[in-house]
């Protein structure tokens, strides 16, 4: 299976050794990242023309998870706050989009900003009390929220469709594109993903990002240094919820069906596992996490019915021991060591 992850770190290594060395020297890390992103994008754009629709769907879902994980990464990886309820915001985005499509017949591109905004506001509202909590307690509260959401969605049946859920038509590709439905959904998701990554990138390079890092590394010290702790923690919560909401909205487009039992607490735990294994606090972590969440269960179920859970659990623990920076950290290490070998030659 050729995932986009495999190509992130391997550009321009086929030249003759001498040129290769010169090239390796001339490519600074920053520039290398740009090249990697460009290659990744090119591959991402060509995927739906090369793969069968089933694979296209899988990669669409990888990106949906990646956007959600981007938010979780912001909160867990960059701000150091634990959330076991990220799936709840995902569900909020999914339901917001579904209700807009089902009840109000809004055109689907409009649902994205609104769903994201709804999740943002909700994140802000929940973030306000959450800022007073730290670590363990925040994990407890978010877990309870994730559990409570399911019966809540069922209760307001007139709006949410209750336990039967809502079935929606998927966005149809415009005729001029000549694309099939799965390809169109893929490109929509890709566009949202690129947008989300750019946004997160910009966010982390701003004041907000620096403040968040300070909070993660030492909360009390950050406060002493003058970081307005409650403000930034609430903001991190809200941003993270917004990304989850956007991912949920795209999920609704792609699956065309939402029901409360699709968003049980397992989803939140799976997402946390995804970002931990993908790589906390790294740029490519969410993408690798998305690949992990998507492909590991389907591959491991060939071993035993219960194997996905066992492997999920084991991997989380092992990753925390040997590679706290996750797959992204590992990939980075591998890339650096190969580069060193390349230079020494």
């Amino acid at each position: 299976m050729r995932g986009p992850a495999e190509v992130t770190d391997g550009p321009a290594r086929t030249d003759a050794p001498a040129r290769g060395r010169a090239l390796a020297r001339s490519i600074t890390p920053v520039r290398r990242r740009w090249i990697a992103v460009a290659v990744l994008l090119a591959v991402a754009c060509s995927l739906p023309f090369q793969l069968v629709p089933f694979r296209v769907f899988q990669f669409t879902m990888v990106m949906v998870y990646a956007v959600a994980l981007l938010g979780l990464n912001l909160l867990v990886g960059h701000a150091g706050q634990i959330s076991l309820g990220h799936g709840a915001f995902f569900a909020v985005g999914a339901y917001a989009a579904a209700i807009m499509l089902d009840r109000w017949d809004l055109p689907y591109p409009l649902t994205l900003p609104i769903a994201a905004a709804v999740a943002f506001v909700l994140g802000l509202a929940l973030g306000l009390p959450a800022v007073r909590l730290r670590g363990l307690y925040l994990a407890l509260v978010t877990l309870a929220i994730a559990i409570f959401l399911v019966p809540l969605l069922k209760r307001f049946e007139s709006v949410t469709g209750g336990s039967m859920g809502l079935t929606l038509a998927k966005p149809a590709p415009p005729a001029w594109t000549g694309l099939a439905e799965d390809q169109w959904l893929y490109f929509l998701t890709l566009a949202v993903t690129v947008l989300a990554f750019l946004l997160a990138h910009g966010l982390l390079r701003s004041r907000v990002g620096r403040a968040l890092h300070a909070v993660r590394d030492n909360e009390a010290a950050a406060e002493v240094m003058g970081v307005r702790l409650p403000f930034y923690k609430t903001l991190a919560f809200a941003w993270s919820a917004m990304f989850a909401g956007a991912a949920g909205c795209v999920y609704t487009w792609v699956i065309g069906f939402v029901s409360p039992d699709s968003f049980v607490v397992t989803l939140s735990i799976t997402l946390l596992a995804g970002i931990v294994v993908g790589g906390l606090g790294s740029f490519s972590g969410p993408l690798l996490g998305g690949l992990f969440v998507m492909f590991v269960p389907s591959i491991s179920q060939d071993i035993n019915d219960a194997a996905p859970g066992v492997i999920f659990g084991l991997l989380i623990i092992v990753v925390m021991y040997v590679a706290p920076t996750g797959l992204a950290g590992l990939a980075g290490r591998v890339a650096r060591s190969t580069e060193n070998i390349l230079r020494k030659e």
């Binding site: 007073r132 363990l136 219960a306 659990g313 925390m320 021991y321």
Partner: protein
């Protein structure tokens, strides 16, 4: 009125179940400062071990003793293998590891014993005490009694034994404890072993009521968290009081508050957790911790 009192009694019965698991949570927190998300699953796993013993033909009480011993050893083993490598790591890391443990244990139980429900022998007789229109099941009384006994034993252990003193020293300040010659590592492992044992008691108590299957404790866990939060994560007596309060609050809210009803009563522990943490984060019985930079 009789109906209300009956609901109260049943709420206490449910609360005793939450209290038993909350006790295990509190134990680990006291020694290691960790909230163990896998506590419920470990209890479930212990219960399966007990079930396996009874199926093999052992009498119930012997199976119980063996299970407690196995759980104690298992708890220490988990501490040594799984938790030790991340000792001293940020809270975040430890929480994630226990979440990983949660997923792993749950799936492993499904792998070994399948997801079909198992019948678990009830150590208490089936009848009920009838008094003044109230009816209190023997198993409810039994669960309450066992929880009280466990709490009492823990109190004795902490306050009146040398091991307990050492454990308290480690909990209060690991570095100073190490300086005065206490083997901190072993004390932490002991804490996990004890918690696993208390968890096993909890699992065996609830299995005849909830029926044994791998997701048995999943629903209980959130209530136990609420109980521990309410009572304070560092107080065994608080955990029991918290458990009983949560049980009663949830039962009464489900029965008498029309809007909540039986479907939204899982919101009760959420509300309790949120309010306690915002108003009195150390819980009703806990001590406030001052943080140093």
């Amino acid at each position: 009125m009789a109906g209300f009192l009956q609901q109260l009694v049943e709420g206490l019965g449910a609360g005793a179940v939450y209290a038993s698991l909350a006790l295990a949570l509190v134990l680990i927190y006291q020694f290691t400062g960790i909230v163990n998300f896998a506590q419920g699953e470990m209890a479930m796993f212990s219960t399966y071990i007990a079930w396996q013993f009874t199926v093999a033909g052992l009498p119930f009480w012997l199976a119980l003793v063996l299970t407690l011993a196995v759980s104690f050893a298992g708890g220490m083993l988990i501490e040594r293998i799984v938790i030790r490598p991340v000792e001293g790591a940020p809270e975040l890391t430890v929480v994630i590891v226990t979440v990983g443990l949660f997923i792993f244990v749950n799936a492993a139980a499904g792998w070994i014993w399948t997801f079909l429900i198992k019948d678990f022998p009830n150590p208490f007789p089936g009848g009920a005490v009838e008094a003044g229109g109230l009816s209190v099941g023997y198993s409810t009384l039994g669960v309450l009694a066992v929880v009280a006994v466990v709490m009492g034993l823990l109190y004795l252990l902490f306050q009146h034994t040398k091991v307990g003193l050492g454990m308290r020293a480690v909990a209060a300040n690991p570095d100073s404890a190490r300086l005065v010659g206490i083997r901190v590592g072993w004390m932490l492992a002991l804490g996990w072993g004890l918690a696993a044992t208390v968890g096993a008691v909890s699992g065996i108590l609830v299995a005849p009521l909830l029926f044994l299957e791998p997701n048995m404790m999943g629903g209980v866990l959130i209530y136990a968290f609420a109980a521990a939060t309410l009572g304070g994560f560092d107080s065994p007596a608080g955990a029991v009081a918290g458990g009983l309060t949560v049980g009663v609050a949830e039962t009464l809210a489900g029965a008498y508050v029309g809007f909540i009803g039986s479907d939204l009563k899982v919101g009760v522990p959420l509300a309790i957790i949120l309010f306690v943490l915002l108003l009195r984060p150390q819980g009703l019985f806990g001590r406030a911790v001052v943080e140093r930079v």
